[in-house]
Amino acid sequence: MAVAAAGAGSGPWATQEKQFPPALLSFFIYNPRFGPREGEEENKILFYHPNEVEKNEKIRNVGLCEAIVQFTRTFSPSKPAKSLHTQKNRQFFNEPEEHFWMVMVVRNPIIEKQSKDGKPVIEYQEEELLDKVYSSVLQQCYSMYKLFNGTFLKAMEDGGIELLKERLEKFFHRYLQTLHLQSCDLLDIFGGISFFPLDKMTYLKIQSFVNRVEESLNIVKYTAFLYNDQLIWSGLEQDDMRILYKYLTTSLFPRHMEPESCLFLLLRFLTGPLNLNDPDAKCRFPKIFVNTDDAYEELHLIVYKAMSAAVCFMIDASIQPTLDFCRRLDSVVGPQLTVLASDICEQFNINKRMSGFVLGFLFTFILLPPMNLAGKSTILGDIVLPVDRGEVYVILIKNVKKLCATQFNNIFFLD
């Protein structure tokens, strides 16, 4: 862990310092409508982490958030409060669905210094946390939940509060353990997608492949094509693809990392049957929910990999993919995908000098100089910040124009 140079060598402060990164203090989900009257406050709480906290304290914390949001609404009726800054921690608020609130409480990063009389002094580095970063983390918590469970409202419709609580518990209990708040940075948080650079001809061949597979396996609704953890083609809309991409690259793919020696083989299902020849092989695929704003589709997610190329096939959940279907998919897709994967590899080696080229999925990227975050002296190198829909979110502007001139001649910048 790098040691910050603050105050090094000056007077009474010795250079012995300990740094503590930000940490998750608590995370809860509530709906004030479920317990509007006194004595019913407990009913508001749909999920609370850590669960060991005493009931009354939970109620107090939830109540406080509720009050803050209500209070600030008088000043800003259309845009509710997003965060609350205090010396020791920061609370982030998000209302993903009407009246359903998600709150994440993060402890500010700390520097523990030794004073001249030997007593440790704790200094909270409140400025180091960026709201935007952690607000996005919170939003992603909801998106990820929704990807695998559908909306809160739908759960309510399907089985009332009990079902919703059950789903929230099951999901967040595991998911919160994967949140590494100390290493959250710009690159992960904004949910950008890394696209794989490819020449036009190979890209068109992939299009052709996807279209033909969708035609011959006509129960496939959507397809996404990835190579080396980077996206090449998405048949899903932007918002859904972003969260699916995050799931694939941070959860599914790492779980199935091949040891170096096996890289040349491997036509297989990452979700679904492990062994196609085993008649008892289970054909269970994760279910995902997309287009929740209008069509509200529930789909089976089939991920099939050949060498470094991975294809996601999404099938309507009402159709249960059988072992037979999987075998058919394997025989239709396998050979073509292998050829395609080696084509891509060949093209990539030819165009290696383009490897620094990153496309944004509905975002345009600007390079920013490296910055310190959360007390950690991370030199992130070329940090890429997405630009949403033609508008720029800029945190630091330093020599942006110079960087742009060299790296992005193809982008038109408004001054």
């Binding site: 036009k200 890209y203 033909r212 829909r389 033609g390 038109f412």
Partner: protein
């Protein structure tokens, strides 16, 4: 059988002539492909010395030779014969092909050793002789090659000797065959193709549109062979089967005065595409191939394309095949559609390359030195993007009932195929893709295609993107990016920015590329005024005053700039004293 089942027909207007009789005889002029008859009142007066055995015209009807007896040849006056060469051979019979100027002489007892001679530029050269393999004959008869079983024809620009072999050489296959021996200009004759007829009897041959047509007398049906289609190659010879099931030639109705309609039946077939009938007067037809019925008789679209692309009048039929395979009822699968596109573009590319080579050769001044270099002829088999767009794709895209996934997949297949053959895709095809994507709100797909430059940059495309801004806001930025990449589009960029009231951005951009001294002050001031932002107007006005000072030493606008209105407006808002004072030195 309806009209749609016949794939061979007689031409529309036959040549009609009087029936022949011994005095008034008729000859078929092979060289000029005409029926000739010496008329009593013909200008080329001939002494009526009796029977005329044979008349032969030279090419271009210049010289007429009349053979009266088996040994004399009479020529018109003022012409003399010169002996070119003399060969001593025992000849059984001969055959002459005027198109290629080759004569074939049958020699030896079996009559099957053929000696060809080639006439060219006043010389007669002997080509290597070759032997026709005769089938095993029944014990009682002597095997020999009959003149009736031989024909000479040009197929795909090459001369072939066609031998109608009534029994196959291999014991296990029945039926007659046509064996094609290729007679090259130089080198030995080689047996190249065998056309399997799978029946026996009497046959006649034609060559029409580079197809070998074999007529079977007993069944009154005909079959066609295309030697360029893939056959079974055994290492030396390619075996071909008929392209289609046998059919009769489409009946032709001859109007006979007073007697109603009767069917014409072929009574004699001449080797080069003509049918002569002696019933109800004499008619001479050319045989033609009907392409439309063939479309329905050949289910393998790849093979159908291969066949059609070799035919002379193929363009509209091919386009209709394309339309049909994209139709709701007869929809082909994407791999088949892709194959068809690839075959079309293969031909298209061949022509483009030939054109390019020719253009380069002309530029290099080679055309004069090499008489062989000819401008490549564009056959009907060359279908370019404009053809496919006009006749197939634009209607296809309009069909409401088509699932949009299929429409986009087809368009992308065509673009993929063009790219594969390294043919630059025309912008109207890209527009078709964009319009379809927009129609179905598939903006995220459009965005991905643009980012991978699948839809090439072009000014029309950039303008189309701009027009989409109200449906899809990022289209504005995508358009500007595209214009920037098209480095010749600076004017358009300025126009786009001004239209969006981004006057400062436009000004800074133009200054960034060093063009700020040339722009029209009026245009920018108009745009600034439209924003109704007075401070912006002030800024722009001041900029141009400074420019005036720099260029002409005075901040005033010249009358030619037509900015009086704006000066007045400025004075009205900010007062006279706000105007820039001329700098005095």
């Amino acid at each position: 059988m309806g009209e749609e089942d016949y794939y061979l027909e007689l031409c529309e207007r036959p040549v009609q002539f009087e029936k022949a009789n011994p005095v008034n005889c008729v000859f078929f002029d092979e060289a000029n492909k005409q029926v000739r008859r010496p008329a009593p009142s013909s200008p080329a007066r001939m002494d009526d010395k009796g029977e005329v055995k044979c008349i032969k015209f030279s090419l271009e009807n210049k010289i007429l030779a009349v053979q009266r007896t088996s040994k004399t040849v009479v020529l018109p006056e003022k012409r003399s014969l010169k002996l070119l060469k003399s060969h001593n051979l025992n000849v059984n019979w001969y055959m002459y092909c005027p198109e290629s100027a080759v004569i074939l002489l049958s020699t030896t007892v079996l009559e099957n050793v053929l000696q060809p001679f080639h006439f060219r530029a006043g010389t007669m050269s002997k080509l290597p002789k070759f032997e026709i393999e005769l089938p095993a004959a029944p014990k009682s008869t002597k095997p020999s090659l009959s003149e009736r079983d031989i024909a000479m024809a040009t197929v795909y620009g090459q001369l072939y000797v066609l031998f109608l072999r009534h029994h196959s050489r291999t014991s296990n296959s029945t039926g007659a065959e046509v064996v094609l021996y290729h007679l090259p200009r130089e080198g030995a004759c080689k047996k190249m193709h065998i056309l399997k007829l799978n029946r026996t009897g009497k046959f006649a041959l034609n060559v029409v549109d580079n197809l070998v047509v074999v007529h079977h007398q007993d069944t009154e049906t005909s079959v066609i062979f295309d030697i360029k289609l893939r056959g079974e190659f055994d290492g030396s010879v390619t075996f071909h089967h008929p392209v289609l099931p046998a059919r009769s030639i489409q009946p032709y109705q001859i109007p006979i005065a007073g007697n109603g309609f009767c069917r014409g039946v072929s009574a004699a077939v001449l080797p080069r595409g003509c049918v002569l009938t002696m019933i109800f007067g004499s008619y001479l037809w050319n045989l033609q191939v009907k392409l439309e019925p063939i479309v329905n008789l050949l289910p393998d679209k790849g093979r159908l394309m291969d066949f059609l692309l070799q035919r002379k009048e193929c363009k509209m039929v091919i386009l209709s095949v394309c339309s049909q395979m994209l139709s709701e009822s007869d929809r082909a699968s994407l791999p088949v559609i892709a194959t068809v596109f690839d075959k079309l573009n293969h031909e298209y590319k061949k022509y483009l390359d030939a054109e390019q080579s020719y253009a380069m050769a002309v530029e290099a001044g080679q055309s004069r030195s090499s008489p062989l270099l000819k401008r490549p002829v564009r056959t009907q088999a060359v279908l370019d993007q404009s053809d496919v767009y006009t006749h197939v794709l634009s209607a296809f895209v309009e069909k409401k009932e088509m699932p949009h996934k299929f429409v986009i997949a087809v368009l992308m297949e065509y673009i993929r195929s063009l790219n594969q053959f390294q043919i630059a895709v025309q912008h109207y095809l890209h527009e078709l893709v964009i319009k379809t994507l927009v129609q179905h709100n598939l903006f995220y797909m459009l965005h991905q295609f643009l980012q991978y430059h699948v839809l090439s940059d072009s000014k029309p495309l950039a303008c189309l993107l701009l027009s989409l801004e109200s449906f899809y806001p990022p289209a504005h930025q995508l358009s500007l990016d595209m214009l920037k990449r098209l480095s010749t589009a600076n004017d358009e960029i300025v126009e786009v920015l001004l239209s969006k009231h981004q006057v400062l951005a436009a000004l800074r951009f133009i200054r960034g590329i060093g063009g700020h001294d040339n722009i029209s002050a009026r245009k920018f001031l108009d745009a600034a005024k439209q924003t109704e932002d007075n401070m912006l107007f002030y800024t722009i006005f001041r900029f141009f005053e400074q420019r005036n000072q720099r260029l002409r030493g005075s901040p005033n606008f010249t009358p030619g700039e037509h900015c009086e209105e704006h000066v007045a407006f400025f004075k009205q808002i900010f007062g006279d004293q706000a105007l820039m004072r001329p700098t005095t030195f």
